[in-house]
């Protein structure tokens, strides 16, 4: 008999796997956010980059520190903290004091994510809760919008004499003021939170994620589609409603967060439609000008229920009771 080989590794099949892992997925999300960051740097100046880097660094630090304190395995290598940091920064006005932003990062990473058990265990999107905590805790800085470099005449006319701050298009719309053109809205030379101004840049990132199969288009399409349809029904300009505020950022990057959104395609469509409806209801009837983050948070909470009503059905079995 030929030479024997012993002590081989025995493990369960499959013995090969798709090269995509959690870190590559998260890295793709960061790459997809770069176009929006570029536009906001162009619109708001270098402080946009500074804010983004500080939030990402703070999130990574909080992730590392909380895992360390809780004697858990270090998970900063999975890039998820960086994604949370960048998305949170995108949700803040560029002029926000850095220390407040860091508090937002603390809420996002420590309170929402790590206390619930870390990646995969949080019931709500960390960046959204971080933003909402800041919005409630620091209402004034969170709604003080610095003037963009190429502020359109409309904003100056309506927002008045203050040369440092100006209103967002949604605030102007809520106040019934004259609005920027749809082209300006789409390109993003408008006022707003750091990363949400350019629908075009966010769309490019979204297409990248769909092409890379990181996200399925179900949630963004259902979300944006619902906002557009409801705008038409309510008699608003759908292009303005879709490009204004956080709809694009929320639909593409926050509502699609795997952990807090349903797992099946039908569940994702329900989730997206729900986000769209709540967003439009808040915009049209509530006292806040913007409702995307509340909409996503509410739907995050409903996700387990959506998951349980949209369970995938067994092939070839018509009704639930009919199996076997």
């Amino acid at each position: 008999m030929a030479d024997k080989h012993t002590n081989l590794i025995v493990s369960a099949a499959p013995h090969v796997c798709n090269p995509t892992d959690t870190a590559t997925i998260m890295r793709d999300v960061v790459i997809a956010l770069i176009p929006a960051l570029a536009v906001s740097t162009y619109v708001f100046g270098i402080r946009a980059i500074l804010m983004t880097v500080i939030c990402a660094a703070a999130c990574v630090f909080f992730e590392w520190a909380s895992r360390k304190i809780m004697h858990r395995e270090n998970t900063i290598g999975d890039w998820s903290a960086i994604v949370t940091g960048v998305i949170l920064a995108f949700n803040l006005p560029v002029g926000m004091p850095f220390w407040m932003a860091i508090i937002g990062c603390f809420v996002a990473i420590v309170v929402v994510k790590q206390i619930f058990g870390g990646l995969g265990q949080n019931f709500a999107n960390p960046a959204i809760v971080g933003r909402i905590a800041l919005f409630i805790g620091f209402a004034t800085p969170m709604t003080t919008w610095s003037v963009t470099k190429n502020m359109s005449q409309a904003i100056i006319n309506n927002a008045g004499v203050d040369a440092v701050t100006g209103a967002t298009p949604l605030a102007m719309w809520n106040a019934g003021a004259e609005l920027p053109s749809n082209l300006e809205m789409f390109l993003g030379t408008i006022n707003g939170s750091l990363g949400e101004v350019s629908a075009l840049a966010l769309l490019i990132g979204g297409i990248y994620l769909v092409v890379r199969k990181v996200i399925s288009p179900a949630i963004p399409c259902a979300f944006i589609g619902t906002v557009a349809v409801l705008s038409l029904i309510m008699g608003f300009d759908p292009i303005f409603q879709v490009c204004a505020g956080g709809v694009m950022l929320g639909a593409i990057f926050m509502a699609t967060d795997y952990v807090t959104s349903p797992i099946t395609t039908s569940g994702r469509i329900i989730f997206g439609i729900g986000c769209g409806i709540i967003t439009m209801l808040i915009r049209a009837y509530a006292s806040y000008p913007e409702g995307v983050s509340f909409a996503i948070l509410l739907m995050n909470i409903l996700t387990p229920h959506i998951d349980s009503i949209t369970r995938s059905k067994l092939n070839g079995v018509e009704k639930k009771g009919a199996k076997k």
Binding site: M1, A2, D3, K4, H5, T6, N7, L8, I9, V10, S11, A12, A13, P14, H15, V16, C17, N18, T20, D21, T22, T24, I25, T75, D78, S80, G118, L119, G120, Q121, S216, Y258, V259, S261, I263, T264, R311, S312, K313, L314, N315, G316, V317, K323, K324
Partner: protein, 468 residues
């Protein structure tokens, strides 16, 4: 034929390095080790003794239980010993060790069977020693023994969806005519009107070959399958070829189908024409450290290490040897095991391939759901398994998992989902058993109570009668 809809699956890297290589017979090794249990069902008992001279194709092991397949010698030589040791399945089994004489004389019993009826045909199938060669090793005579009229479609499985393995492809190119003849024989005796050959579209030459042979015939057609793993899984190929869903717990015959691997049908046809039972296996030997990857015809019972040496040995330090493909194949702890009827590939890999991947937290991405051909929710099943929540396991149809591995393949958190589901199935089966035992005990108690009451009543009546 199929409704345009497809079952889900995953795209895998084909790595078919040995594609186009013909199947070359391997010289007989010095010794072969033939275990008595190479099929699902009752193990065989040796019908030869130590010191007996055996010839190729001679019966050496048989069993009178219905679910079993006889075992034949793959070599000519002398029975050196009959020993108990562990086989590749991890079971301790009776093995017949034969020292070969190199003459490869053919046994006198090797004569074509005479078939005049369906019963004769089933008997011949059993005598061939054939089991499902795709890997299931289910005795073929049991599979073919269907009720008359129950089956209307014979599906020839030439999907070969596992990466690396190319041996079915090579066999199809070399023996297409025999396979078609074999199908027609089976269809004749089992009265099956329709035959379908399912081949994955990455083998256009095999598809063309069958189309050429079948030009003008209406009984058999070729179904080109998509390049999506696992097209070769029984439930998937039945759906893709006929549009019928095979639900867990049912047999293909329940949906009017018989599925046979291409080599099974080829070997059966060869048995029917020559009388030579199953004594050799076609194997792909490949992997990143095999010196000469190739397709080989190997006598059953050959040691895997002998086979590796025949293929030029290894160029690096081996860390993992797989029997079968990388998606469903089994990793073995050592290579001094014999090749069995059900093997179709031996793949050897070094450290780079064998490295264990670290498991991280589930991020609920849904890739496992998107990849599951059975439409299950593997992530949910994994959670239910960790919680030992048997009701949830049942509710999410754990028993429908066919262990194809698409979920674990696509999991970015590197979770061993199908392995967990496999263990979960055991949990549910144990629970079923417990419940059944409990129900039986309760029924027995009830029956005893009823009998007691009956007896009391009878006694009372008797007493009454006596009083009168």
């Amino acid at each position: 034929m199929s409704s345009g809809k497809h079952l889900k699956g995953v795209h895998v890297n084909h790595s078919k390095n040995t594609a186009g290589m013909p199947i070359i017979p391997m010289p007989v090794p010095e010794r072969v080790y033939i275990p008595m249990s190479m099929h699902i069902g009752a193990p065989c008992q040796p019908v030869v003794a130590k010191g007996d001279h055996v010839k190729v194709g001679q019966l050496i092991g048989d069993c009178d239980k219905p679910v079993s397949a006889p075992i034949h010698s793959s070599v000519s030589g002398d029975v050196e010993s009959i020993e108990q040791f562990m086989t590749q399945n991890g079971r301790v089994d009776t093995n017949i060790v034969i020292k070969t004489d190199g003459k490869q004389e053919i046994a006198e019993t090797v004569v074509p069977p005479v078939i005049n009826s369906r019963e004769d045909f089933i008997k011949a199938v059993r005598a061939s020693g054939l089991v499902g060669l795709g890997g299931a090793s289910f005795p073929m005579s049991i599979k073919y023994n269907t009720k008359p009229g129950q089956v209307d479609t014979l599906i020839l499985n030439g999907a070969e969806c596992e990466p690396y393995i190319t041996v079915d492809h090579a066999a199809m190119l070399a023996y297409a005519q025999d396979m078609v003849d074999g199908m027609r024989t089976i269809m004749k005796w089992l009265d099956i009107p329709r035959g379908i050959i399912g081949i994955e579209s990455n083998k256009p030459d095999a598809i063309a070959k069958f189309n050429e042979i079948l030009a003008g015939s209406t009984d058999i057609s070729v179904c080109t399958l998509r390049q999506v793993y696992p097209q070769g899984a029984e439930r998937v190929i039945i759906y893709e070829c006929t549009g019928r869903h095979l639900i867990a717990g049912k047999l293909p015959a329940d949906v009017g189908c018989i599925v046979s691997n291409v080599t099974s049908v080829l070997k059966l046809q060869q048995f029917l024409t020559t009388g030579m039972p199953l004594t050799t296996k076609f194997l792909t030997v490949d992997g990143n450290i095999v010196a000469k990857p190739q397709n080989v015809e190997v006598p059953i019972g050959t040691m895997i290490c002998d086979l590796i040496e025949h293929c030029g040995g290894l160029t690096g330090e081996v860390k993992k040897i797989l029997l079968g493909g990388p998606m469903m194949g089994r990793a073995i702890p050592r290579d001094d095991f014999a090749i069995l009827k059900s093997n179709n590939a031996v793949l050897c890999f070094d450290e780079k391939f064998a490295a264990q991947r670290k498991e991280t937290a589930c991020i609920n991405c849904g890739r496992c759901v998107a990849g599951c051909p059975m439409n299950l929710m593997p992530a949910r099943l994994s959670r239910a398994f960790k919680d030992k929540d048997i009701d949830a396991l049942r509710e999410y149809n754990v028993m429908s998992c066919m262990d194809c591995g698409c979920c674990a393949y696509s999991c970015p958190a590197r979770k061993q989902l199908n392995f967990e589901i496999k263990q979960a199935k055991t949990l549910v089966m144990e629970d079923d058993k417990k419940k059944k035992a409990k129900a039986e005990a309760a029924a027995a108690k009830e029956a005893a109570k009823a009998a007691e009451a009956e007896a009391a009543k009878a006694a009372a009546e008797a007493k009454e009668g006596g009083n009168k």
